[in-house]
Symmetry: C2
């Protein structure tokens, strides 16, 4: 498309309505609302299905069309002048953490929908179709790893592999998909990997940089590297009162030693490593039985690939050594493996130009969190727009954001999409 | 009653039938049978109710009467010549660990029932009634602490306190009791603390002493000291990718440090301390959210009260210190607290005399495991009979025992009860 700024006719940001965007976000936040003001709308639950249906109904009521692929990614399309051209796509996700907030994911979908509505209100004619997508299971909270829907769409994960993943209660993605996808069975089928002209995702920052520095727009240059591990320790049940220490194969004490040692190794001078054991499940879970099985996860992030690889090597080796010395056995699986992902320079520049043209204060910055956008670069030019969130808090029911910041991000997004769609 | 050995007329052990005892145990083991040959019949589940009903039906078919108290302890009574006299009571429990075996608890109930049948087959007239009781929730696996039914019966715990205890899914003892007790609603009511003339419990040893030394009967002199703690660590949810270490309140890493440090402190020269973290529940349990809440248990045992007290003091103090240094908060509850429990010397002597009279090899020994018998001494003279279990394994689906050892224990029990019942 033309470079942005060639003509005022391509600026649809003035049609973005702050109140409409906010109201839609608050409507969405009702689905899975928690007592503490957050949202629990985990992937492929009935609540997730209800949120997808709400999006589909909004789309249909505006004359947009809907598409769904086999992992449940839901696309809302506003036609272009030539619908054989690949769409310019934006989006994010509707699923949340169990203790999630109202904006993580939902904002990117509703900002995208607001951009489509702005185009529609203006009667804009774009060459390419413009799309907003709700990717399935971005959080990976119930079914790790995260960014599952975008990973399958782009061929990073196979559909079969994803469908086989189970939640702690034993339900698989494949099983959970059936009833959720049925809620939007009026959607047309969409092939995996169908080409995109470009992809831009809007998101709250989920960290403290913008809010601390008083900026409104983050122009995201890259996503830091990120590996997710699932570690299992196998021991043997025994009586807690009678079994001598030397005869025990205690999976919890072995797991505790593994975690304590890895936490120490994760300390770096710059304090840039992020080391998180978010899930720890011990079985059989009786206070007076020596536990025989532990599953825990390690979420590891760092701005540099080399640091992630150093720790990942250790995570691959240490559990077997520690478990072996404690008469247990260990198994380490790497569930996901994402080196630093740079975004496409032309898209980064375009976003920065659009926010400058709108007079919005901002800066270039890397992303600490992972996002669906991180899997798109092999398929299409990709970038991201951040807006501030209060105190940098996310993955917490207290997550919050200001209506004017959310609208600012949507305005930048609308102008970028229009520019790219020609 | 008379001292044992005064007359051959008081020996009913010859009426104990090894096959009948074994067959009843195998019938019971069907209820909650697991694929690995064990039993999962946790307290106050439907399986527990089915096992109680089976016992009640066996009792009624032999003309015995049944009683039930408000915590669900189920008593089977064979009348004596004077039913106003307090009963001579035996028993154990029908609930199991989640990965339980076929004999832990079930053996003590069925050995007691076999003793009642032996008296019945012989047409014995005893002065006192003779009873077998299935205590509620001895394991404390689902609803800690263990020995709940006997604890409430003897006034160690209040009914209200016990009823309020919840399993990890949030169901309370009070709620779970309703449908389970309804299965035996034909039982007559029984008051808590109704006097017993004596109490003797038969049990598999659950440890390696008898089997290693080639003995058949363990004459139990005491139960080692035992404390159960529930520790909660409170942190705060945060994003695993964006939140700097200095801003985290990570409940899992705090719990891991607490456990690693306490494990080291629990090491003693004699290696007599038993330190077990059997339950560890982390929330919200998403791999990419810093966990905000951990509940874990510490089961602590030692043959000496002083050693338990030393460790218990530390368990009371260390979690707050460690959690505080990690921006978390800790709460420590002592769920149960049992010093060394010596059994009644006259009962210990009686058991030893009975096993000698039957020509059975045996020895006096302390119990490493806790048992309902440990709460009875304030109410009545109390003792226990152990029989070997294969490889000393218990709280494991592989738990096993030999039919002839089980019958030997029941024969000692039958003679002891007859002697005590006069
Ligand atoms: N954006 C977001 O919080 N997604 C979850 C993926 C991650 O863990 O970074
Ligand atoms: N006997 C038995 O295993 N009961 C459970 C109580 C304990 O933990 O020792």
């Amino acid at each position: 498309g033309r470079r942005f700024g060639d003509g005022g006719d391509m600026r649809y940001s003035e049609h973005v309505k702050q109140d409409r965007l906010w109201d839609r976000l608050m409507d969405l936040a009702q689905i899975g609302a928690t007592a503490k003001g957050g949202v629990n709308r985990q992937a492929l639950t009935q609540e997730d299905g209800t949120a997808r249906r709400m999006l589909a109904d909004w789309a249909l009521s505006r004359g947009f069309s809907i598409f769904q692929d086999e992992i449940g990614n839901l696309f809302v399309r506003r036609s272009g002048q030539d619908d054989t051209l690949p769409p310019v796509t934006t989006g994010s996700h509707l699923d949340t953490q169990p203790t999630g907030g109202r904006f993580d994911g939902a904002y990117g979908v509703m900002a995208g929908f607001e951009a489509l509505e702005a185009l529609e209100d203006a009667g804009a004619l774009t060459k390419h179709p413009v799309e907003v997508v709700a990717w399935t299971n971005e959080e990976g909270a119930r079914f790790p790893p995260s960014c599952m829907g975008s990973g399958v769409y782009t061929g990073r994960y196979s559909l079969e592999w994803a469908q086989a993943i189970r939640d702690p209660e034993g339900m698989s993605v494949g099983e959970a998909l059936v009833s959720v996808m049925a809620r939007t069975e009026d959607a047309r089928p969409r092939d995996f990997g169908a080409p995109l002209a470009a992809y831009i995702e809007a998101h709250i920052e989920q960290g403290p940089v913008l809010v601390t520095e008083g900026e409104t727009i983050g122009v995201v240059t890259s996503v830091q590297s990120q590996n997710l591990f699932e570690i299992e320790i196998f021991g043997e049940e025994a009586h807690a009162g009678t079994t001598p220490r030397a005869n025990r194969s205690d999976a919890v004490l072995a797991a505790v030693e593994v975690i304590a040692r890895l936490e120490k190794e994760a300390l770096d001078d710059a304090d840039a490593m992020r080391f998180t054991v978010g899930r720890f499940i011990a079985k059989p879970g009786a206070p007076n039985t020596v536990p025989s099985h532990v599953t825990f996860t390690i979420d590891l992030r760092h701005p540099e690939n080399a640091e992630i690889e150093r720790m990942s090597d250790l995570i691959g080796r240490l559990p077997a050594t520690v478990a072996g010395a404690r008469r247990c056995r260990a198994q380490v699986k790497r569930l996901s493996d994402s080196p630093v992902t740079p975004f496409t320079p032309e898209i980064v520049d375009l976003i920065d130009e659009c926010r400058l043209a709108l007079g919005l204060p901002g800066r270039r910055m890397p992303s600490g969190a992972g996002h669906d956008a991180m899997y798109i670069p092999p398929l299409a030019p990709t970038g991201m727009i951040f807006v501030p969130c209060v105190d940098g808090i996310s993955h917490n029911e207290a997550e919050d954001a200001l209506p004017e910041d959310l609208a600012a991000g949507a305005r930048v997004l609308a102008d970028c999409l229009a520019e790219l769609a020609g």
